[in-house]
Symmetry: C2
Subunit: 700 residues, 2 copies
């Protein structure tokens, strides 16, 4: 959609404009005027002729022309009527500030649906309701009640919470972050976060996209599009509700269903979105993204006038997995030529407690010239000889001479650092309250750079017997069986290229013994019932049976025990299965997220998966690279590779299993969940086996 009339309208009508100070209808009008909006403003209010010296109209029609943008502030129950007026005179863009819609319950929800219907019929695009409005500093547009106009800049911001937007504005202003566009989307009745993010992606004035979201409206489309946008411009989002309590608070606050957090993590990872865990960290990161170049590598040089500060930075650099730059011998010689003998010439460079501005300039300059350095972090503590303001000016000067490398600062202190902090801010050098925060920001930037450089995603499609899988799935659905047991699940998996143990079902002890003899001993016996999920727990499994007699005994024992524990379960018989060679047991799984589709899971199998929760998730469809990444992001991976003389297992085959399962999940939206547990893997060259499995289908 085109945001031109929201971002740069030639004329604006304010329906509900008021003469009364403190009222939203007054605040918005006076914000518009204070911003110096160059277009025409039409206040609409039937009870007055003039507001703030501007002619006011009783209704939209009496304006005599079509305002390009209409801002609505009237009480909720009158909004539909105003919308109908808008439709009648062919207004195309509306911002509804008014609250009292979906967020207050069922009545509000109906009102909101009514508004949307009118909008759709009239071809009107609507931002809001329950929002703060839109601000575009460069166009002197402040169609909001967020207060003062923020500084012009390169950050485009989208917020689902008006209140937080106001706080962001205030904090950003103090940190030298300017904005290209600010959009408060409120209830997202029509225009949603993705519409806005797309508009910001196309906006030449926007270099960085940031926002606060409580929900994502259209999960599937969001992922793909955000991924494409992230490749061009960084997206930094706050998305709370990561924990249960937060999700509960979210549900009671907004009318939107908060998605599962594991899914959000996967979505953000896939789409390269930088997740911020607080307003403060978002502002911290924005300082660097908006004002500095992206780092080319991850090698940091630290310059400090206090050993202690250098140590704290070094700790943080190691903790975050970043690299200390190894200064070249040229740089060290150059530093030695002019720094006092007691200075530490190696990284972190200690310019000593009596370092004046010139010494900092010299050291920073030398360090930035070093090809081994990608990033410079300047630390300063207030000491007797310290010149904070002059040092800040020096840093800004050197930064302007040597462009291209990421430069950050942490000047420790408060009032003594105020002037210096202002100078750094104006010079576009991000300045942090602690070395740790600076380092964390670097980490976020280098992660983003790495994400951008990731190989192209190529999802391999395996040849599978899709028809056969479909037959099994449809059969279950027709019979209303939404749980597919071991036998059916393995049929589906086999159709998708998984190797399953040879097995047959038996309904009598003799038949079981016969099958066992055909398979060859030893065999395993498992109860066969679609209603039993944890077969071991009910005594439904016997392993390592060596003779026909043992098989017959086991048959009766399993039947007896299971029917005693679960008298109501329908038992179809037993499954006689070849014993699988010993190997490492892992679990492959899939769970479909209602918003974002299939989430793939990998973890250590057996009891361990529940105790250690050493699992990883990723969004389907998986590439080979991503499947391997899933393995590598668990601790289990060390064991799969082989430890202490134990041979490793064939990791490629696990990755392939995940990819095949991902293909199955993508091709059959009917499947809600799959567990392959255990998936037994052997050394390189062997075939992994799906020893047990279950699926559940979406009831229809």
């Amino acid at each position: 959609m085109n945001f031109e009339s929201f971002f740069n309208p030639k004329s604006i009508a304010i329906v509900g404009a008021s003469r009364q100070k403190g009222k939203v209808g007054y605040e918005i009008l006076s914000n518009m005027i204070a911003a110096g909006y160059p277009g025409r403003i039409f206040p609409v209010n039937p009870r007055t002729d003039v507001i703030e010296g501007i002619r006011s109209y009783p209704d939209l029609r009496s304006i005599g022309q079509v305002p390009e943008l209409v801002v609505i502030i009237v009480p909720a129950k009158i909004v539909p009527a105003v919308m109908r007026q808008c439709a009648k005179i062919r207004v195309k863009s509306v911002i509804i500030i008014t609250a009292g819609f979906k967020e207050v319950g069922n009545n509000g929800k109906e009102l909101e649906e009514q508004v949307v219907r009118i909008a759709r019929q009239g071809g009107i695009r609507v931002i809001g309701p329950n929002c703060l409005g839109v601000i575009v500093p460069a166009n002197k547009l402040n169609a909001s009640f967020a207060g003062d106009m923020p500084a012009e800049g390169v950050t485009g911001y989208v917020s689902q919470s008006g209140a937080l937007l106001a706080a962001v504005l205030d904090m950003a202003n103090a940190k030298g972050i300017g904005f290209s566009k600010l959009i408060s989307v409120g209830n997202k009745a029509d225009v949603d976060e993705l519409d806005v993010i797309r508009a910001l992606a196309e906006d030449p004035e926007t270099k960085v996209i940031a926002g606060y979201l409580e929900s994502i409206t259209n999960g599937n489309v969001f992922v793909t599009q955000a991924e494409a946008i992230s490749a061009q411009k960084p997206i930094l989002l706050m998305k709370p509700g990561g924990t249960e309590a937060g999700a509960k608070a979210a549900a009671s606050h907004t009318g939107s269903l908060a998605g599962n957090d594991a899914a959000y993590e996967c979505v953000f990872e896939r789409a390269g979105i930088i997740r911020c865990d607080s307003l403060k960290s978002q502002v911290d990161y924005l300082q660097a993204f908006a004002n500095q170049p992206l780092p080319v590598g991850n090698k940091i040089a630290v310059i400090s006038n206090a050993g202690g500060a250098g140590i704290m930075a070094a700790d943080a650099i190691e903790r975050r997995g970043l690299a200390f730059a190894d200064l070249s011998s040229d740089t060290i010689a150059r530093l030695a030529s002019d720094l006092p003998p007691a200075a530490s010439l190696h990284n972190p460079v200690d310019v000593l407690c009596d370092a004046v501005a010139g010494r900092y300039e010299f050291a920073l300059s030398a360090v930035l010239d070093d090809p081994n350095v990608d990033i410079a972090l300047v630390l300063l503590t207030p000491q007797a000889m310290t010149e904070p303001a002059a040092t800040a000016r020096g840093v800004v000067k050197i930064a302007s001479q040597k462009r291209g490398k990421l430069i950050l600062a942490s000047f420790l202190g408060a009032s003594k650092m105020e002037e210096a902090t202002n100078i750094l801010r104006e010079g576009k050098i991000p300045c942090y309250d602690s070395p740790e925060t600076a380092v964390r920001t670097v980490k976020v930037m280098t992660d983003y750079v790495r994400w951008r450089a990731r190989p192209k995603r190529i999802v391999e499609l395996f040849r599978v017997n899709r028809r056969k899988a479909e037959t099994t799935i449809e059969k279950h659905l027709r019979q209303g069986h939404y749980q597919i047991g071991e036998v059916g699940s393995k049929e589906v998996l086999e159709a998708y290229g998984f190797t399953i143990p040879r097995a047959s079902a038996a309904t009598t002890p003799e038949q079981a013994a016969n099958i066992a003899q055909q398979l060859g001993f030893p065999v395993a016996l498992k109860v066969w019932s679609t209603q039993i999920v944890h077969k071991t727990d009910v005594g439904g499994v016997k392993l390592g049976l060596q003779t026909p007699e043992e098989v017959m005994d086991a048959f009766d024992l399993v039947m007896y025990r299971v029917s005693k524990k679960l008298p109501d379960a329908t038992i179809l018989g037993v499954l006689v299965q070849e014993m699988v060679k010993k190997g490492v047991e892992v679990i492959l799984g899939m769970k479909r997220d209602p918003h974002f589709g299939p989430l793939m899971m990998f973890g250590m199998g057996g009891v361990m998966v529940e105790v250690l929760k050493d699992v990883s998730f990723y969004l389907a469809p998986l590439t080979a690279e991503e499947a391997k990444q899933m393995l590598m992001s668990t601790k289990t991976y060390q064991m799969l590779k082989g430890v202490r003389g134990q041979r490793g297992v064939d990791i490629e085959t696990i990755a392939e299993g995940l990819q095949r399962l991902s293909q199955l999940a993508t091709e059959f939206p009917q499947i809600e969940e799959v567990d392959i547990n255990p998936f037994v893997v052997g050394p390189k060259g062997t075939t992994p086996i799906a020893v047990d499995a279950r699926m559940s289908l979406k009831p229809r």
Copy 2:
């Protein structure tokens, strides 16, 4: 020691006082004067008669009286001469500001030792060298070059880095934290951090102790004393060098050996010390510790005018394991009586975006009256109707009326919140830059409260055969064998009450078979050599041998394989050992830290310990409670308790094993390391068995 002459001297001589602005000798003198120091000041400088209008003396002796405190600022090489003068005229307390001692290498180290010798002979106590000095705001004493006098307050601060002290001062000032005493200890040539912390513990003006340390001088004593002090006053320390890079930077920066970080973690945990990971978080925590009461419980009520901020707080509360207060029905009714209908009356209480100061006051008051609430967190975002300053005044007012509960605030924004933040600061309400920071601070406080309420530590002493253990250990030491192999280690462990598998050594295949027959089959065979640590890796172990023939074959096989792999190892024979019943394998260990003594370790045994690193450490001697805590702080604990129908193991016996090992380590400082791996544990009522073990001794 008595710090009276450091904290409240009647007269001070400044040796090296200077007329030249910018010089340290000038700064200190002018700081002294600016602070309004009421005692006598004697500048000492042979090249002038008057400095800043005060009579100056050519040397200490010519003053004609003994100054209670001498501050030395002359160049390092002259310091010994000044110290000798001090000794001659019987000065008792000296602060050496001068740098250029231990921290610059061997020459400086010698100089420092010389200074210490003179001090010891003359009965002089010395703070420094290489320090910033001492500040006592209440006594108008600023014997430092840290700059302006900080505000008076209840925080006593000790710093090993002068530079960071200056930054702390500046940051604290901006956050309303005042100081009782500030001491920069520098190189700690004489007075160390523990001396200062003890002085602060006894100081009635100090309520909270804080500091920055790069090393702890006297580890053992520190732990015990800090533990006693923490029980009275909270101690908040920054201690960097937690990572390898940090430790390297520390080693090159100070002359002190940085301790191992696992040890520091244990020490801080034992002693109840609150570890701060940055200057910023220290200041964050101090705001609350210095200005607010300790919370009685961990149940938090949140009040917010923005749903989004409430969600962020809720997320943080859950993530930190704190509790959401369940508001009583009385409170909810009371809130309902006066809040608008759209307000959320449940925790987090949403007072809505148009909340003015009065509404906040009302809600805070109601919430604080609720007996289910221990802690109140007030969140505010700047919106159209918001009254930040008036709301801040309201919070301060309510807080003064309802004392005893912990109250914190997070007013989100910057310039719009400035006035409010000042009001909160003056009203002693800690105010944070994000809800997360506030919640993290609460977590730190509740942890401290829980630590204070911990049961009294009673270390159980088991009856052991100390003499027998000593004999084995001494025998190894006499022979210069600092590695005790399996046989010797088990002798020692058996003497300390561990059950070891029955076993005997054999030097021929026939002897091995005989022993096996006496033990009963099956048996295990292990190579017997003090030089082989990982027996399995060299083919030195055979398990589950069933017959005399198998034993004889295994004997030869082990001998052949081991001698082929390790041709230079002395092989004493094999150990024939009963097979231990299956159970869960864990590892018990001890590693002696050079500063803090024995660190006990517990973890999952076998290959897993290396892959998953699921281990916990604790400082010996262990109480039963602490031993159990060690188990509970690993993920393995879930498995020990029993999962998915598997029976759990006897957890008490593992805890007892740890306690016995702790006793062994405490009673034999000769032992450097012990590994009991695996320690096999069975169900309740069974005896755990130390299946394999090794020790190393301290070479002498």
